[in-house]
Amino acid sequence: MIKIDTTDGDISVIAPENDRLTAVNSTQFKQEVVAHVDDGHARLVIDLSEVSFVDSAGLGALVGVLKRIGARGDIVVCGLSASVRQMFELTRMNRIFTEYPDRAAAVAALKDTF
């Protein structure tokens, strides 16, 4: 349920294929992203530009990926709609996930960290 773009060196851009990240699909989302991390890809951009709604389970899945990456890499988000950003702010996810307007800005920022 995810699309992975690894054309930018060691940075993976991951986009959910569904327009909602909720309890319905968040477990599968987390499993697929964690599998990618465990394959050695620990610098992630999560592109949420096609996601219109995230519930608490979706947020939990993102936190789970963040914890899995730990100190091995980075995870940032981009493309948040107003409603998704509101959920991030309300639940303070904006304190642990740096947000960029789009994937190009997010990839550029991650490249600058090395």
Partner: protein, 146 residues
């Protein structure tokens, strides 16, 4: 407006039901309050299916009644799942007290935050959850969030 819906107690039915309900209330609540409605109802229906019907297969349907008027919207959910404690929606930390690195446990706090009133009556004969949402004031800014 009054409408009723029957939803099977399965997680994969929740998103479509939530979107259908939001579409019904958005004209009455406005976009911003409709988002609050969507968040709270999504969390509530997910909780009922995940916790109330845990371990059951092909259980009874969940009856959902929705009414709207010029003042706002009321959602009534009747289910036959496992009853929760009567203070289920009154206890637990608020959003700003939940560990930011917790992967679960935000659902009830989100419901309390977004619904104007929450009334829960558990019973072995069926559980009743009533959520109300006031319509957004036309004077309030920020009603254009999509």
């Amino acid at each position: 407006m009054q409408a009723s819906f029957d939803m099977s107690a399965a997680l994969h039915h929740v998103d479509a039901m939530v979107q259908a309900l939001r579409a019904q209330v958005e004209p009455a609540l406005g976009v911003q309050q409709a988002l609050a409605f969507e968040v709270a109802v999504s969390e509530a229906l997910t909780n009922i299916v995940v916790h109330g019907y845990k371990g059951t297969v092909g259980g009874a349907g969940i009856l959902i009644e929705l009414s709207t008027d010029g003042q706002g919207a009321q959602l009534t959910v009747r289910d036959q799942g496992r009853p929760g404690p009567s203070d289920l929606y009154e206890t637990g930390p608020d959003l700003d007290k939940i560990d930011i690195l917790e992967e679960s446990g935000r659902g009830l706090a989100l419901i309390r935050h977004h619904a104007d009133t929450v009334n829960y009556t558990p019973s072995s004969d069926g559980n009743l959850l009533v959520l109300t949402f006031a319509a957004a004031s036309p004077d309030l800014p920020g009603d254009d969030t999509g």
